[in-house]
Symmetry: D2
Subunit: 354 residues, 4 copies
């Protein structure tokens, strides 16, 4: 746990500001011998790219080309750190000059200034959602590692602006608009977005992640529970305001007799636990949901203050998303993969090996 590094054995360290020369990262602790190339990482990045959001998305055009700098030799990982960079190519910094002296409501402007005493105000600097490109790059490698162990991660939108999607086909969500697990939902999502966009306002939603094939025994019994790590991973993505595991909030209103998952020789009969008991994976699918707030940059006028503390008002134009969904979906998938791959590597040393 440190500012810009995630993980214990598989550690992703990221750097980069929205309008600096480049973003990048280092993934350390990846075992040697894993097949890996740039194309695989690029494919995952393309899912998160500005412009991929359709109606909900930003107009910024970034190629977001990842360049692998180390840790791979003749198509396989070498066990040494995997460094990568993503150049910033479409930086219209002057767009942001007008925001230099204002604190945008719902953004990190005020708190960055309070923390550091100065800030790179261009596009949110380090607190820009652009930072998450590096998480997706690192997460793509983590997914590859998980895949080599028979584990897969799914992520899909179960709600957008109050409109729900049914979890009918989660595997197909990756190829569908809004990463919807429901073939019918995208049309309703678009309708809702059109409506709110016309008012100059913005929307939130709910994303579910599933981990399939995770062996039982991952996670530590006390502080470092698998669910605690997932909560940390998902809540650490900007805009996420709540995280639940399995039955989540509903469990608090249930009875023990209903909430317990009965065990039979054939396995568990339900999965209210979300695949985690006592902080340790049970072998069932791991299930978590992240609740995402509406994008704070809106065209509606809002009261704020200048950096000098004077009353002011703000109306954010520019090329902004009106909903973090769908672009946040690959980010949440990446964080889930990083958390699970780390615990998988961490666990190999204990008990079961003996």
């Amino acid at each position: 746990m440190s500012g810009n590094t995630f993980g214990t054995i598989l550690r992703l360290t990221t750097f980069g500001e929205s309008h600096g020369p480049a973003l990048g990262g280092v993934l350390d602790g990846c075992p040697a011998g894993l097949d890996l190339d740039e194309a695989l990482i690029q494919a995952e990045l393309d899912r998160r790219r500005p412009g991929s959001g359709g109606l909900a998305g930003t107009a910024r055009k970034e190629a977001d080309r990842v360049r692998l700098l180390s840790g791979v030799f003749e198509g396989r990982t070498t066990g040494t750190p995997i460094g990568f960079v993503i150049e910033n190519t479409d930086q219209r910094s002057k767009d942001y000059n007008q925001l230099k002296d204002l604190f945008r409501p719902g953004h990190a402007d005020f708190t960055f200034q309070a923390k550091f005493g100065l800030r790179d105000y261009r596009g949110g600097g380090r607190s820009s959602a652009r930072e998450t490109a590096c998480r997706v790059a690192g997460g793509a490698i983590a997914q590859e590692l998980l895949r080599s162990e028979g584990v897969s991660v799914l992520a899909y939108t179960v709600e957008l602006g109050g409109v729900e999607a049914q979890v009918l086909d989660p595997e197909g969500a990756q190829g569908r608009a809004f990463f919807s697990p429901d073939p019918e939902a995208p049309a309703r999502f678009e309708e809702r977005i059109r409506q709110v966009k016309a008012q100059g306002d913005s929307l939130g939603g709910v994303v579910e992640v599933q981990v399939l094939g995770l062996p039982p025994g991952l996670g530590e019994p006390v502080f470092d529970k698998l669910d605690a790590r997932l909560a940390y991973a998902l809540m650490g993505v900007g805009a996420v305001k709540a995280v639940e595991i399995g039955a989540g909030c509903r469990a608090a209103r249930s009875l023990g007799s209903r909430n317990n998952d009965p065990i039979t020789p054939e396995g568990f009969l339900s999965n209210n636990a979300g695949g985690i008991l006592g902080g340790i994976s049970s072998g069932q699918p791991v299930l978590a949901r992240a609740y995402v707030k509406p994008i704070p940059s809106i065209a509606v006028e809002q009261p704020t203050v200048t950096t000098g503390g004077q009353a002011a008002s703000i109306q954010v134009g520019g090329r902004h998303d009106i909903c973090a969904i769908p672009r946040i979906v690959p980010v949440l998938k990446a964080m889930t993969a990083l958390a699970c791959a780390d615990l998988l590597l961490l666990d190999r040393r204990l008990g079961r090996e003996r």
Copy 2:
């Protein structure tokens, strides 16, 4: 982040099983010169003690006397690690012999066995809620440290078994049954418990924590956000299945124009953010909620399997709570205090000092 250690600068390491000789812990990184004595820690432990839960509580009688072993000299901390132990005095291990070969549904029995290949089956061993006594002891010191910096932590029950309490008097909750912030709620909580207890079933609930006086600037922009740390701290308490910050789940259905907290020269006009923007404290009260599942040990008969994989049924008698509330409330307060005190110490080195 490691199995049994919490924190970066202020680090609590705990040990101990439900029915071993003793539990204990080490709090490292506490600054020198803080006034501290055993009585202060004992007072917090007494709030969590078996038997303190009234109707909802366990019948096990443990004095839970903490003994300070190091790190304090002439009534003040010395800057060296603070070691403490809590002896186990009322261990009726034979109560558990019948559970030796069964996996209790909703408990960590199966996952412990899967992880370690063997387990201390007496009372849940390391996964027993008894382990949280050490968190409360460490959290009492963290609270003292926060207090010396003008920061206080409140924790109170906002829902129990579907029955809600109003947040009318959160400061008074500590002295009220169920740590209720609402003078009227305890009677309704008791009624609900009586009902469910008669059915041999169990209940969950929702606990809210508030941190008052936390300076702006704590938390790190990317992975190690204040909200991510809180989510990790709270989700790491057994039975917690969801964590939300500020408006939490509701934010996902709100509009940007309503969810943003407007800023004025006098301060923020609302606190949907829960005192955290971009992962960094804003100076407003920090607000989080933990959703607690029903106690899995119930008198109702449930299907399960033996450790050998044979079908069986189980009905848990013994001296068990039927709701983790109120005993979990001081634990959640402790974890919140540990997380915030750690970030406070961590932050002193950056920006604002220069």
Copy 3:
């Protein structure tokens, strides 16, 4: 790397002052299923006990009884943290009142005061050599873990007060006075000690450690080299002023053609590398030496200052060792075992498993 915790996977956290109620520690990360009992730990502690030093040793009488509090069930480790305490029973604090206001030369008195603003002056408080008892207890478990993997650690005295011992029988050193690898050396060591003791002065020496059976591949290529970890482990023991690996200091005056260890199909022809190449174990015996300074507490009068900064003089009587050898030998063995066991557990996750 933190003040009172050693290790990444196998982590020893210690606490306790020389004259507080008790010392103790927590060893976390030990795999489940290892045979372990108190007697095994006690045997190692007995080798370091006050009074074990013969002529060179202290007159303080401490039973140094270790009590295991957790992590072991039915004679085997459970994978949960192993907590232990060692009570302080023979604390003559009043012996130290005269030193309350003086900074002893060569001790940590001045620097503790500078760091913490206050200090537990009784017997050096946390900086007392008594703290190392907990390292020995933790190291005893680490040695057991290594033994179960076919790895053994030896430690023996190769020099005391300028008098050298030949490394004739390192395996037999454990049962010999001064942990001497040379049956003839103890008599010469005693003669040297008698001489210097008569002058009220003190002595240093050199201890060598050997790790046999360590598999090739442990240690990380860049910062976290096996030799860097060993240097950290050994230099972190009070009184150690230099650490060398293999040919060590002599390598700096050698030629490449002589210092390189030639490789043949039967193995390496020499071991100037001390079993480590590029920071990674080679499979040869790992060899390190620690250079230990003379005990700073001497009966000879020395100039110093009071805590208020006034000139003063000091002459330390009391029950002090005049040489850290032999009591430091089990401590250096323990630290070597902890470092190697940690790297062994850390390595299992990489490359070779795939």
Copy 4:
């Protein structure tokens, strides 16, 4: 402590192989507001550059241009991670094809293969001395941070191939050949090098580092002593086989009455402790020495084995240094600066602030 990350608060993570596309790193935890530009880092890199070694140096021509990618805005650090890359421009990989199937004696070839099961054999891959360029870049920033607090780090050659230099002018060493603190020594060093080079052999030496102006109170009393951290930092540089602090090895043969540094109201009368007592800085200059082995790549023929285990012989030509000095000097300075700056930031949170 992890493979490719150094430090607790100020953390340097590096990546990159000798013959991959680029090397680079991320320095996280640097406070906001520090003046910083590329030129300052470049100046330090130029001191370590291939070709800077004169007679002792390599013939490889690398511009070693550092490019800053993040963490700096308008000439000052922002408190966010500082990412940088150094492109590899002069990679003659084919030079290494002949070494593909041989383990070079004294190199990490065999141990890399044992650890990872495969290796990037081109120029040593990750274990190449080229990796240290990133340490120098990170260290340049750490030195800037220290300078802003009144602390400076010196590093100079005190011995080369058995030829000694007097520490007459350590401040002037930076501008002198071989970073010699003695104006007369370079001529003698060159003479020695010429001699040994003619034989196709190689040389080692000894480098001393000094830290001036470090405040008292840095370092932790038990495992994480200032001297333990320095030993870890310096021993973690390839080719270093011993580290000593202050009187170092000589202390082991001294008497307590001579080795103790007497304290007077005006300060300490000597510095055998090397500025560290009980693991904590005393305010005196911190003094450490690193013993460097001869370069293992020599033109003399040596026995070795192929990766398949067959007997072979090797004679290394190519563009190699014959002594790690002087190029290792800025690396050791960088590591010292990183270790001290980290402890400086770490200490701000304790005792003295209250």
